[in-house]
Amino acid sequence: MTGTPRQVSSLVPDDTQDTAYTSDEMMTVCASRALRDGMTCFVGIGLPSTAANLARATHAPNLVLIYESGTIGAKPAWLPLSIGDGVLAETADAVVSVPEIFNYWLQPGRIDVGFLGAAQLDRFGNINTTVIGPSYDQPKVRLPGAGGAPEIAASCREVIIVIRQSTRSLVERVDFITSVGYGDGAGYRERLGLTGAGPRKVITDLGVMEPDPVSRELTLTGIFPGVAVADVAARTGWDLAVSAHLQVLTPPSDAELAAVRALQARIPEGAGS
């Protein structure tokens, strides 16, 4: 999630160079808008962390950021590189042990929203961050693994996922279910006794997908300005359903863009490089 932002020139009218924005900026802003003030938010590193901190810097000053390192209510003045940077501990309301953050805080379902990235995501919002390839034992690509994601996906009241849109990342069926979305569809989470509601939004660099209320299949409900539905479908690994109420999403405002850039420009205190 830390790759160099690509300039999405097709999204930018020629005469507004000063408000040009990258697809990562659009994703970040879009994700930050999904967070409401006062929410408790379990944050993964990278774009989720940037989006959550953007929300805190703009419309949601009382957003409570929780990182799996045990920092509850962290208020970092700059973006941490890892979930365990010192600034998180130093600004937190409370720092608890790793067993405690999972057992007392995440597992019982007291966190409003969990914010995840994914290497592979399927039609029913299941996440793979373990292995690419048909065999766990002889993987084509060995990914980092689960970390805290499965519990975030299972236990937060709702989940937001950010992922770049491509047929390699958005697939009919993930090679390995690391974190459960809606499994094979309606009723699956309930049968497993998962307490959270599951993915509410998937935010990509082209638009937003949301689960169909009945079938739970991810459905395109929002699209960024200048993006065609056909483009999205072409970069999706399943036959993408499109909502009858498809909306064109509002581009980042000047204030939002300024805030996200200020956040990313901010240098850690004491860092020299």
Partner: protein, 306 residues
């Protein structure tokens, strides 16, 4: 009861070929210097245990110390892949690496069970995921469904972890051998209490511990060996003593991507005559910014690309 020794003596006395070794520290306080000493002493066939086998285990795996890994997230935090880990898993280089893969909640609770003297812990989770059915190192499951005897609900049991030895880095020990760490305290207390033996490297030895907010204190009688190794968690950090050397983590991507370049790094920076001196050199720089500065120049030496 804690004994003060050199790092070399601590590792020689507590880590043996074939051992199950946990080095813990969740991003913060990772015992890198102790890991390098294990590489220098050429331990083999280790079962490495760690929630986040990040750069420290990438180094041990690449150096050929490990044949098995118990873990829940194997990446370079905020940077990307662990190339030595991937090379071992995908290509069996320098030797095959058998995996026992969990998730953070499972690993944390496995340590809790070990520290609590019970053979398993209960949690929600694993259900519906591929992790539910992966075998443990011996081919037997370490995750099983368990039924609540009161409600009939199905939950998940995970098997306790009991390392032969746990190694951690902490900010301070007092002269009696009581250890104090603070900041992000991770799962270190559980990992120490779950293990048969415990080794702690510390930033400094003080006459008396000044209680710190959020601190974990490990009484002297829970620790076997303490070695004073200032900067011993670099490129990780010790809150109050140093900052995380993010540049090194970024630089590690290029160093580790190539077997040959990794081998050069190993020779020059861990095994070679220069590196022990550099590790020892950290002793001299002591606390605060001094360590941060030396860390950063070290990072530059790796050709930092950040």
């Amino acid at each position: 009861m804690a004994e003060f020794v050199s790092l070399a003596d601590a590792i020689a006395a507590s880590v043996f070929d074939g051992d199950a070794v946990a080095m813990e520290g969740f991003t913060h306080l990772i015992p890198f210097a102790a890991g390098h000493e294990v590489i220098r002493q050429e331990r083999r066939d280790l079962t490495l245990i760690r929630m986040t086998p990040d750069v420290i285990y990438d180094q041990l795996i690449g150096a050929g110390c490990a044949s098995r890994l118990i873990f829940s997230w194997g990446g370079n935090p905020g940077v990307g892949s662990l190339h030595r880990f991937r090379d071992a898993v995908e290509n069996g280089w320098p030797s095959p690496l058998l995996l026992e893969e969990h998730r953070h909640a499972g690993m944390a609770n496995r340590y809790v069970a070990g520290a609590s003297g019970v053979p398993f812990a209960v949690l929600r989770g694993y259900r519906g995921t591929g992790l539910e059915n992966l075998p443990g190192l011996d081919g037997q499951p370490t995750v099983k469904p368990i039924t609540c005897p009161f409600t009939g609900e199905t939950l998940t049991a995970v098997a306790a972890l009991r390392p032969d030895v746990t190694i951690i880095h902490a900010q301070q020990a007092d002269r009696a051998g009581n250890v104090q760490l603070w900041g992000i305290v991770g799962v270190q207390k559980e990992a120490v209490l779950a293990a048969s033996r415990a080794v702690v490297t510390v930033e400094e030895i003080v006459d008396r511990l000044t209680p710190q907010p959020g601190a974990v204190v490990l009484p002297a009688w829970t620790v076997d060996y303490i070695a004073c190794v200032p900067g011993g968690s670099h490129p990780s950090y010790a809150l109050g003593y140093s900052q995380r050397d993010n540049d090194f983590y970024v630089a590690w991507d290029a160093i580790s991507r190539d077997r040959e370049r990794f081998g050069q790094w190993l020779k020059s920076d861990v095994q070679g005559p220069a590196r022990p001196a550099a590790d020892a050199g950290a002793v001299l720089t002591g606390a605060g910014n001094a360590v941060g500065a030396s860390s950063r120049s070290a990072g530059d030496a790796w050709g930092g690309t950040a």
